[in-house]
């Protein structure tokens, strides 16, 4: 029977990052991935001769070359990448759009400051106070995760609409809970969006994934695709190994799982209602349209638009329809400041993300599912073009994925993109030698999950 120092479940961002750390320090490490490709929630695919990213709107936490602090600098150092290797191009600017208000922001905080001053002159001092609070915030102090952000923010910002405008993009990019957000998570996400910023490699997420997997393999790590874990073997409260979908057994001194907290517990054959009730509910549809022109030729030069069509931002799974189109995210990958040597992207692209309910999508028959996809793709576009120019005449191809697609390719319960509503910051599960990394450890997003993989490998595989 094969034995490893460490087994990692999942070849997404966190699993690959953890694998690199372990392999770099000469651990015998194996990543087991059920899908036939790497990337997990942020993978890529090719369809009708076009390249698509599953998830990538923006690499958050952008800091310029030479910056010593922050998650991006830290993960580059830990994984031994030079800054240039990720080929990050900065956003043009992004915006939060509510019915009569717009707040633009970029990787320079001054833009957001001036926008708040313009739209909410009586709130600018409060906004400065908020920035001061967040800059010194110790985000990992556990007590901060018991505080609800809406109320906390309302004590600083007295205009309720501005509170909602701030919450909208922050929740969109990393809130697993419905309705409200843990303050600790809010601080992490606020910084990654507004104090750091957005960027994208010209080639999209495949560039980052290719770098990660190449490094892992060069260091001697083993990556096994189409090797799903069906069971984690636990003896007397200690994890000893895994059983694969085909029945093969593999043992290891440590197991790191990026499959999610509830999912991992189920792999151990355990049932614990305190864990099960944390299962996430927030899932999305995403409509991707390829255009025969650059979006900027239609007068659209923003990188990402977070829109909401009323004064209150509703962050909850829909109960009586498949999707909720009151709010959404519109991402235009063309609108980054790529190095001119790359030339333009092959097509114009408009991506729309909307909130969707897994259970309802999952209950459809195959034919209902296909027609629901067509219907909601159109409705998502109709909703988005309230906030951006109508790009429909320029569409040359479309694709769309739903909560069931996310479930099908990542095995996350409910297709929950940001995982469980409670996080396991220590990385420890209730089974010895079994650790959580990635989304449910607490850091979400591309950069967040890479940092998570690094931290958990450092702590439990390398020490």
């Amino acid at each position: 029977m094969a034995h490893f120092d460490a087994i990692i479940i999942g070849a997404g961002m966190s699993g690959l990052a953890a694998g690199i750390r372990a392999a770099y320090y000469e651990k015998k490490v194996c990543i087991l991935e059920r899908h036939y490709t790497i990337g997990g929630l942020n993978s890529f695919y090719r369809l009708r001769k076009r390249d698509y990213d599953v998830g990538l709107h923006a690499v958050t936490n952008y800091t310029p070359k030479g910056t010593k602090h922050g998650p991006l600098a830290r993960l580059l150092r830990q994984l031994r990448f030079r800054w240039d290797e990720f080929d990050l191009a900065q956003q043009n600017y992004s915006a939060v759009q509510f019915p009569d208000k717009q707040l633009r922001f970029s990787n320079d905080l001054e833009l957001l400051r001036s926008e708040v001053a313009r739209e909410y002159p009586d709130q600018i001092d409060n906004f400065e106070r908020l920035l001061t609070e967040l800059i010194d915030y110790d985000d990992l102090a556990p007590e901060h995760f018991d505080i609800d952000t809406r109320e906390w923010l309302s004590e600083i910002i007295s205009d309720p609409q501005l509170v909602e405008m701030i919450l909208c993009p922050v929740m969109w990019y990393g809130n697993a809970r419905e309705h409200d957000m843990d303050l600790g998570q809010f601080c992490i996400m606020f910084r990654s969006l507004f104090l750091e910023g957005f960027a994208r490699p010209f080639e999209g997420v495949r560039l980052i994934l290719r770098k990660l997997v190449k490094k892992f393999r060069e260091l001697g790590g083993e990556l096994k695709l189409r090797h799903g874990v069906s069971q984690i073997e636990v003896e007397n409260g200690t994890a000893t190994g895994v059983v694969l979908d085909d029945g093969t057994q593999i043992t290891a001194d440590a197991i790191l799982s990026s499959a999610g907290a509830v999912e991992t517990m189920h792999l151990c054959g355990q049932e614990d209602s305190t864990v099960t009730k944390t299962v996430g509910q927030m899932s999305f549809i995403e409509s991707v349209a390829s255009l025969d022109c650059e979006p900027k030729d239609l007068g659209h030069d923003a990188t990402i638009i977070f829109f909401n069509d009323s004064d209150t931002f509703h962050w909850e799974r829909p109960h009586d329809s498949l999707c909720d189109l009151r709010t959404g995210v519109i991402c235009t990958p063309n609108n980054y400041q790529y190095d001119p040597s790359h030339g333009p992207l092959p097509d114009g692209v408009m991506r729309i993300t909307a909130i969707a309910d897994y259970d309802q999508w999952n209950s459809l028959s195959e034919s209902e599912y296909q027609s629901a996809k067509t219907e909601w793709q159109q409705r998502a576009i109709d909703s988005a073009i309230r906030f951006v120019p109508d790009y429909q005449p320029q569409i040359i191809d479309t694709d769309m994925f739903t909560p069931t697609t996310i479930r099908k390719f990542t095995w996350h319960d409910n297709g929950a993109v940001y995982g469980a509503t409670k996080k396991w910051f220590s990385g420890q599960s209730n089974v010895k030698n079994l650790y959580l990394c990635g989304t449910d450890q607490g850091y979400v997003g591309i950069i967040g999950s890479i940092v998570s993989g690094i931290m958990i490998a450092n702590q439990y595989v390398l020490q």
Binding site: Y25, E26, K65, G66, K68, H69, R74, L76, R77, Q78, R80, F81, R82, W83, I454, M455, N458, L462
Partner: protein
């Protein structure tokens, strides 16, 4: 290894940990932290690189000895030459 060789070895480790920093300009008596702004994670990497490259185990109580280039060389010299 001579102190000069040990210094080169450490410079090489720092270059690996911080590939975007100019480690050639490091001043020997100034703390690494001030010149490279290493955080605690990076610091542990120095310790782990020493273990990986030279099979030297630095116990936690000795970590303060690794603050600057000169103190690190002084600390490592007798240990490197034991082998």
């Amino acid at each position: 290894m001579t102190p000069a060789e040990i210094r080169d070895a450490i410079t090489d480790i720092l270059a690996t940990i911080a590939p975007d920093d100019n480690v050639e300009e490091i001043r020997d008596d100034v703390e690494f932290r001030e010149q490279l702004e290493l955080d605690s994670m990076d610091f542990l990497d120095i310790v782990m690189e020493l273990r990986k490259r030279f099979r030297i185990q630095v116990p936690e109580e000795d970590y303060p000895q690794l603050v600057s280039m000169s103190s690190t060389v002084a600390y490592l010299e007798p240990r490197m030459n034991e082998h």
